[in-house]
């Protein structure tokens, strides 16, 4: 081995000068970091070439005119912001992301809490079944949802008419369609929250609950004063993660409604796709997707701060 020599070299030269030894160590360290750099080179190339460069390229693209022949500054952004359709896209994106993430967090926590009370083999079986929505590729399960919502053959409407209710135009009316896209997202994402919270619940020391019982705390108080404070970190991190993913959702809206009716269900991703790929206005599409950047940056900043603080706590 080439570097084995450099390992044993400083050991075998006891009689020689200190300068020599230092040089040997430095050479060893240098070789070590060269190997490390070479090992990381594919990663650096990938991130640099296909993620960082395109991200900055998107900013440049968004300042060109439609034919990409002239630099127009921020005109695309002014144009978008003045457009009522795009104002609705901003509103719907925020509504979609916030409603879905909060519902997923509440539902996921409730389910995890119920499951934690059961424990054992039954918990494993239930967890296995509840994760299925997360496992089936989203595009395919959304297609099934579409079929469940289908105007004339809707299986949901069949149930409603059996119970004596009127059938619902699930994807045909703006606010109902908005509700449906959010519902499908909640269905898909809740298992993730459930698994995260269940893992976190298991890490809360049992003694805390026993101490609370001794002090006469009931179930509700234990939840409020023991469980929630202990899980605060993980709740914040999962919600931020999910906020990013939900904000960037494409599959559900694209397959269920393609943005309709009257563009009411469009979110940034689907609108960017329609403008940039389908209508061929690449700069404007890049501009639309860049509107996701501020919220992503804030979320990333908060997550990173939380993660590094936690790492310091572990290290201390």
């Amino acid at each position: 081995m080439a570097h084995q020599r450099s390992v044993s070299a400083p050991l075998s030269i006891q009689g020689r000068s200190l300068a020599h030894r230092v040089a040997g160590v430095r050479k060893f360290a240098q070789r070590r970091s060269t190997v490390a750099f070479l090992m990381s080179l594919p990663l650096i190339t990938l991130i640099g070439g296909l993620m960082v460069y395109p991200a900055f390229y998107a900013i440049y693209l968004s300042m060109l005119n439609r034919r990409m022949t002239a630099f127009v500054g921020l005109d695309n952004f002014y144009f978008l912001l003045r457009r009522p359709t795009f104002q609705m896209v901003i509103f719907q994106s925020c509504l979609f992301a916030v409603t879905a993430v909060v519902s997923k967090a509440v539902l996921g926590f409730t389910i995890a809490h119920l499951m934690h009370g059961i424990g054992g083999r039954h918990q494993r079986i239930l967890r296995g079944l509840l994760l299925v929505p997360w496992v089936v590729p989203l595009a395919l399960s959304t297609l099934t949802w579409w079929w469940l919502f289908e105007p004339s053959y809707s299986a949901f409407n069949w149930v409603l008419t059996q119970v004596g209710l009127r059938s619902v135009p699930w994807l045909g009316e703006g606010w109902i369609a908005r509700f449906c896209t959010i519902a499908v997202n909640v269905w898909y994402g809740t298992p993730f929250f459930m698994v995260m919270y269940l893992a976190a619940l298991k890490s809360v020391p049992e003694q805390l609950y026993e101490a609370a019982s001794v002090d006469g705390a009931g179930g509700g108080q234990k939840l409020l004063y023991v469980t929630l404070p202990m899980l605060r970190n993980i709740i914040a991190i999962t919600m931020l993660f999910s906020l990013i993913v939900t904000f960037a959702d494409f599959d559900i809206v694209r397959i269920l409604t393609s943005g309709g009716p009257q563009d009411m269900t469009h979110v940034f991703a689907t609108y960017a796709f329609q403008v940039g790929i389908q209508s061929g206005d690449v700069p404007l599409g890049a501009g639309v997707s860049l509107f996701m950047l501020p919220i992503l940056a804030v979320a990333a900043f908060v997550i990173l701060r939380g993660v590094s603080r936690r790492t310091r706590e572990i290290a201390a």
Binding site: L131, P133, V135, W147, L148, F192, F241, A300
Partner: protein
């Protein structure tokens, strides 16, 4: 769920205290949990169940619009047989398998090497790079697909399934590297020293020590890379437009849906076949799957 009886059966093995302390109140609470969870399970499994039911129906039964749509009266495997003999569908399946296999291989090579280099050897700026990997994991595909469209156009990769092999690693590598950094840094440094003294090279050290010891993490990362590349929808939707280049997700949504209004039996059968690989992997490797899922946020 059969409420109290199931609950009572589950209890003895789990309780540390003797059963007599189990108050009636607690028993009712447990029964309530089972009932509520049972209802949640039923609700969550509605779409997969309906997918399966529809896939077993004939077109005639679907279009008849009579009776309960939630049950199958004349189950048939014709939809599946049709798909197996349908050249387009076979093409999608092969494309998906080929892309996924290559992406998983590329991802694991890049991620294992980089995680090892960053965690154990280190170089100027490697700490920053490790944090940067985590940041790039947060950049969503929906932000990159338009500029990447411009990047792959000059490479003549538009409407070419190979574009996915080039681009999918951007979705998988950051997270896999991140998971592996967590697993690798938990391996004691003494093992490295022992290996170096025994005359191991770095690559040998990686192969003989790090990969075997961190195998659970490597399996979890592989599963993640597999499920992501198998289920991706946005990139193939944006870059591929002829059937011979398509992968399963866009093939089913684009090609089959447009073909025929009453093709829902076939569409749902296609979904069942396309969902089978990830679901089977999940069924057999559930613990690794969940480890990968939770690693993202719990590994500092």
């Amino acid at each position: 769920m059969s409420g109290a009886t199931t609950a009572a059966a589950a209890l003895p093995g789990r309780l540390r205290r003797p059963p007599r302390s189990l108050g009636a109140e607690r028993r009712w609470a447990l029964a309530g949990s089972y009932a509520a969870l049972g209802a949640v399970v039923v609700m969550f499994l509605v779409p997969p169940f309906y997918m399966l039911m529809t896939s077993l129906k004939t077109s005639a039964e679907i279009s008849a619009e009579k009776g309960n749509p939630w049950v199958v009266r004349h189950p048939t495997l014709d939809n599946f047989l049709y798909l197996i003999n349908y050249p387009n569908f076979r093409g999608y399946y092969l494309n998906s398998a080929q892309v996924t296999l290559l992406v998983v291989l590329i991802t694991m090579m890049i991620a294992v090497l980089a995680a090892f280099g960053l965690v154990r050897l280190g170089f100027w700026g490697s700490q920053t790079l490790a944090a940067g990997v985590f940041l790039t994991y947060l950049i969503p595909a929906t932000l990159l697909f338009i500029p990447l469209f411009q990047v792959i156009r000059p490479l003549h990769l538009i409407n070419n399934v190979w574009s996915l092999v080039l681009i999918y690693p951007t979705l998988t590598v950051p997270f896999c590297t991140w998971i592996l950094i967590g697993y690798f840094s938990s391996i004691p440094k003494e093992l490295d020293d022992a290996a170096l003294i025994d005359g191991c090279g770095y690559l040998q050290m990686l192969r003989r020590i790090f990969i075997p010891v961190a195998l659970p993490g490597i399996i979890a990362a592989t599963i993640f890379a597999f499920t992501v590349s198998w289920g991706q929808f946005l990139y193939p939707m944006a870059y591929l437009y002829t059937s011979n280049q398509m992968v399963l997700t866009v093939g089913i949504v684009g090609d089959l849906v447009r073909a025929d209004v009453f093709a829902w039996g076939k569409i749902m059968a296609a979904c069942v076949l396309a969902a089978a690989p990830p679901v089977l992997i999940y069924a057999f490797l559930m613990d690794y799957y969940i480890a990968g899922l939770t690693a993202g946020a719990t590994k500092g």
